[in-house]
Symmetry: D2
Subunit: 249 residues, 4 copies
Amino acid sequence: MDLNADLGESFGSWTMGDDAAMFPLVTSASVACGLHAGDPVTMLDTCRAAYELDVRVGAHLGYPDLAGFGLRAMDMTFDDLFGAVLYQLGALDGVAHAVGASVDYVKVHGGLYDRTIHDAEQASAVVAAVQAYDPGLPLLGLEGSALVELAREAGNPVFHEAFADRAYLPDGTLVPHLDEESVIEDPDEIVERALRLALKGEVTATDGSVVRLTPHSLCLHGDAPGSVAVAAAVRSALERAGVELAPFA
Amino acid sequence: MDLNADLGESFGSWTMGDDAAMFPLVTSASVACGLHAGDPVTMLDTCRAAYELDVRVGAHLGYPDLAGFGLRAMDMTFDDLFGAVLYQLGALDGVAHAVGASVDYVKVHGGLYDRTIHDAEQASAVVAAVQAYDPGLPLLGLEGSALVELAREAGNPVFHEAFADRAYLPDGTLVPHLDEESVIEDPDEIVERALRLALKGEVTATDGSVVRLTPHSLCLHGDAPGSVAVAAAVRSALERAGVELAPFA
Amino acid sequence: MDLNADLGESFGSWTMGDDAAMFPLVTSASVACGLHAGDPVTMLDTCRAAYELDVRVGAHLGYPDLAGFGLRAMDMTFDDLFGAVLYQLGALDGVAHAVGASVDYVKVHGGLYDRTIHDAEQASAVVAAVQAYDPGLPLLGLEGSALVELAREAGNPVFHEAFADRAYLPDGTLVPHLDEESVIEDPDEIVERALRLALKGEVTATDGSVVRLTPHSLCLHGDAPGSVAVAAAVRSALERAGVELAPFA
Amino acid sequence: MDLNADLGESFGSWTMGDDAAMFPLVTSASVACGLHAGDPVTMLDTCRAAYELDVRVGAHLGYPDLAGFGLRAMDMTFDDLFGAVLYQLGALDGVAHAVGASVDYVKVHGGLYDRTIHDAEQASAVVAAVQAYDPGLPLLGLEGSALVELAREAGNPVFHEAFADRAYLPDGTLVPHLDEESVIEDPDEIVERALRLALKGEVTATDGSVVRLTPHSLCLHGDAPGSVAVAAAVRSALERAGVELAPFA
């Protein structure tokens, strides 16, 4: 099982999250590429830390919207999104290369994550750009999403991420962020769900039904109060349960 | 002799210059990378045109200042500039790669061009980033500038550009842009200076003295009224004089 | 009848449209406020020209998206949009004040224009911000849109704009921009439609039916090839027909 | 004596400083206006808090450089800076107005602060813009700086700020930020210097000499670890010493 987190989300003088604490907990780091977060120096520092700790580097692709942190959906055309993905992939690769690292996988962020669950046009723009950049580049995404399906059809290696701290609907999709029950906050419950996802590929949906998933990575969060401790507890519990933690890429 | 121009300087809905008219005239295109001008789609279109016309692609590196078009000097630290150069190199390479092209050389733009004539710290940040990206990547710059000297010392292939439409000081540097006599506007004089630079490596400075240069490329401009016609006249005159036009890279 | 145009849409070194040619043709100028287009110097120059020519100044409110020119819909929250409207109103007023002008009305732009035709939440955020800024500030908008209805209910003076060069649906709304038949390009037809709108308040919809409108302003465009000439022809025809041209504000 | 702090420096999803803790300690808040920090919602929240706590609102004017937090000097022209100041003043006033507040004074930030200590052209652009906006608007600045002198000559009410936690040179200017001895970190020494500045208008310079100043405001900092506690200690000590704390504006 891989453990991934969104890192390198600081921007200029503004810090976000506790990357130093999160790096030892993960096997893959999805790194912001400057359009929704991240700046060249932050990207350099994040890639250097990943390289030194043998953590894989993912290009965390977002909408070009610093003011909105890439969280709000944008009606980008196929061409604009195709270009924006290539731009971000290249920029992160250029920076990573300078510290001995490279882009090992891609993942989409925020509004683009939500949008490409169902929006085939935006999902296909992302897939086409990844294909044009490197047809063998793995994509980490939500099982069952349009993005994951289109990437698989295109021939990209595809890996699924699951969330121990997010509520699931019976169809295996996530409860939307705006819903107040979208996030699970009880640390014990998060650890328990992480174990069940890793060991059995199961999670209980909001209606009590059991959803079956095939997760290759669990997404950990480090940007809320207390979340680093929960992430550490999840990792620790997985290790104690004998789950082998290793990057998917 | 190479002929270069700054192309791909549009941004979003705003167009700059007449790239379609300039592309057939040049052998190298310095392409904006999104920080002072250019956007992913413009970068894609520009790299595609360059590839189809067998024109070399240069990364035109600028300060992160869209509002100022990268023209005003900025006190960037070594680290910030180092990161910004890697970011731009990678971004353009990523986009170029998708259309079969690649970054063939680097050139600095505007305020960074002016600053790195004398500022050894900013020049060394650019050179260090180019070295970290690709030690064999050629740099096109102003003969005698700190940037060109530092790149040469670092081992980068270095090529000189000269300007047929800019006034020179006796020491071989350019009359600053703010000076009203900095630009030569008479088309016949520009053609004559281009020929003399290409054939004899000479240009007459503002005090009447003759400056000796070893130019590998002449920089053509296509963004002012009438400038495309002048660029075409320069190319035509060089061809008639038997100057072989070919990319330096 | 008022004649309005979107002016001041240049940004930094990039020029858009021919404002010098359009200013003598209009009675109201909707001026970009820096978030989708416009910069402080362009705003100053545009307000100064408006003041000198006795043209009214409108705050042309857009999404914060320079790269997309404010054309693409964005999922902004009520609070974010409320703040963005106040910010733009204040910024333009501050600049206008320095040259003796002031913000005389508001109009929304691009993606926000399209969105607030039907989206009551975004429309209400715009109206609430205008109310908070100045309850008596007139709003220029599309007849029948959610924005116009909500502004009217809130007590703002509301004025309707109509388009002689846009195709109308039978319900009085515009054919969306993406539809290839959305724009009318024949100059004679545009002039004829302008006259009929001004004199009879009528326009023929795409299905041949006649839509009745109560326009207070016609929107002229100056940013496409030949569009300035068409705008001049419209104004000239209206004057010959005895239509009194005067600002609504 | 006034106590001021730089507040409202968050941007989008990124938080800076602990404004909630600092607000009760100050009598004046210099609020970022969106060009170097701040966004419309942050500006709204900050102005609302200031209004409710009877704290004065200053427009904290910076260079248009979010990536650099306005800290690095920029070669802005007179016109560009004139426009940028009007833009920021208007934007903050528009937002402040909506919550019952208004811009009570201006102060410059970061690179613009450092630059306008000596650079008469940039200082005069700031003063000209403030004059054009409101000739009676007070300016808070560094005693002896070009900005303060030019504002005084122009007729603006001018007030001096002093720093209990910054080292002074014998001529009354500050030790530059890059110097490692520029900041005083010992809490007791900061409190002692604050008292001496407030009670005697004196501060000991780096060479041991005594500099005489006429401060109207002390600048408190809340963005470093422990700095809120120091700010609280300063306020408490001033109150115990019988210094009347009140806004200068």
